[in-house]
Symmetry: C2
Subunit: 326 residues, 2 copies
């Protein structure tokens, strides 16, 4: 009797401590343009947020200091840990930033150690797409799915994997890098130097190039072709412009080739598509789903859900806060 | 004090029971040609084996009965559970065989239930390539690796995934199906009806076709071209026949295209290559490793090990026995 009593009390006590201590965590999303910092509840709700221009700080150290100041302020509201998402190649086990895609001066930075020294709380570091995937898998479009593949479509094409609620990072923390898988060995040259990468077909600049080609008979040169954006293509598609609809259909089929690989090899329950281009909605998703149903292995293709990301620009801070909730 | 004492005793008792009970398990590998049954130790060693021609049994029920008889005999030596690997599409959670690639009459068979009724011990069912992957990840070429992708090269091209010592099967138990990923939308038609699948380039018949084409100037028609086999190509390559060497090099580059996808998306620590064609050794592995280093993302490509399967024909029964050791 006594045995059971102690055991139950012990477990309850632990659970209670966990609840109190981890009620709030801090999530940070360091981007090429903006840096966002938020206090996030255990349910993934943002209670307070801050945001500043990343380039307002003249160098890496000034930026780290600004982040530390915000953490120290939010810490007072009960947060005991913080997660931070970085746009680039990160060693999440040791909290080291190897290098960032669009921000100079971040080679081999022991970010976890530096921020822990400046704030006195536990800091966790990961790649931004991994954290977006974690957020969508926990609170967003793929809530409660056992296996999630998340793709971001923007200037670059990134990807992340979550299995059973945990980020799967792979052997060298590179898992999910769908952007630089080649879908045609004789395809156009990609920024990475290889040929026919998914990014060379569905990255922002490839889509805009496609739009310029397909739309040239529909749009007078001074009426948008020069300032073409994914949003403009979608706007034209909504007005039933056939060429604009074709831009998204073609894009969907190239993206589909990449997703077929992901489906056949990884067999995820949900594929989440985020980033600016996901705003094309059904113009992108309908032909994409059709292509996948036709070209991937039939059993996994029938079951996989291809969904638009739900958390938008908040996914980064929510995922980062989730990473800190261990 | 008493609390701790009971707790330790309880844990020890459980561990002891586990050791006694799970010392031996039975592994079964049901193949299109042979069915193998083995008693396997907790260290993955085969203590006793049986084998019979699958086609010696006139139908599914006769085959299941023969397997049950063997299980009941091996059960007496202390085995408390058995695993069985099937060459086809299986629901491993419920132990149901949906259909087999080369054996007729196996649609929707509740194999787990049937064998449990006939033997009185726990039965676990899985796909054969998944179990081969499990064996190689636990005791073979990828021993102790955190993430393993295993490919079998034969008539078909199969694949399996093990993460942290556990089979990763995906949402519909189709994960790892590298054979039907297309590497060229305009490529040759595959048996599955799609175009340019990996299997259409590196499956047995594709390799033999390639050999016939490249070797036609080297081998008199009556001296092997008709009876071309992967083994013969390797023999010729060992005699420095340039065309035979080219057959493996070309095969390696097509396989490499598939592996680049696996490396970029899944970032495994080890890729294990098994099946008859792995016997080509360095003629296949050297150009394959070169291709991957050049074409996959540099960080994961530098770290991934591409190794030949180690357990040969025993991988199936060892993996099946491992599945039963839960």
């Amino acid at each position: 009797m006594e045995f059971g009593y102690y055991l139950v009390l012990g477990a309850w006590d632990l659970e209670f401590k966990r609840m109190i201590m981890q009620k709030y965590t801090i999530g940070i999303d360091l981007g090429g343009t903006n840096t966002k910092i938020a206090l996030v509840s255990a349910g993934g709700r943002i209670l307070e947020r801050r945001e500043f221009l990343t380039k307002a700080y003249r160098n890496k150290n000034a930026l780290i200091n600004a982040i530390a100041v915000s953490i120290n302020q939010l810490k007072k509201k009960g947060a005991q840990a913080a997660g931070i998402g970085m746009p680039g190649f990160v060693d999440s086990k040791n909290g080291i930033v190897h290098n960032l895609t669009n921000i100079a001066g971040w080679k081999g930075v022991a970010l976890k150690k530096e921020l822990e020294k400046k704030t006195g709380i536990k800091i966790y570091v990961d790649n931004d797409v991994n954290l977006m995937t974690l957020a969508e898998a926990k609170y967003g479009a793929a809530k409660n799915a056992s296996s999630v593949f998340c793709i971001t479509l923007g200037t670059g094409v990134g990807g992340g994997i979550v299995i059973d609620g945990k980020a799967y990072r792979g052997n060298t923390q590179s898992a999910g890098e769908i952007g630089h898988v080649s879908i045609d060995a004789n395809g156009p040259r990609c920024n990475c130097g290889r040929h026919g990468c998914v990014e060379a077909y569905v990255g922002n600049s490839a889509v805009i190039k496609r739009a310029r080609r397909l739309l040239r008979h529909f749009v007078p040169r001074n009426d948008g072709l020069d300032k073409m954006t994914p949003e403009l293509i979608t706007e034209l598609a909504k007005k039933r412009n056939r060429a604009a609809i074709a831009v998204w259909k073609e894009t969907a089929e190239y993206l589909g080739r990449g997703l077929v690989m992901v489906i056949n090899v990884f067999d995820p329950a949900v594929i989440v598509i985020g980033g600016g281009m996901a705003g094309a909605g059904a113009f992108l998703f309908k032909p994409l789903r059709d292509y996948v149903k036709k070209n991937a292995l039939s059993v996994p293709a029938k079951k996989v859900k291809i969904l638009k990301a739900k958390l938008g620009n908040d996914a980064g801070v929510i995922g980062a806060a989730e990473l800190a909730r261990i």
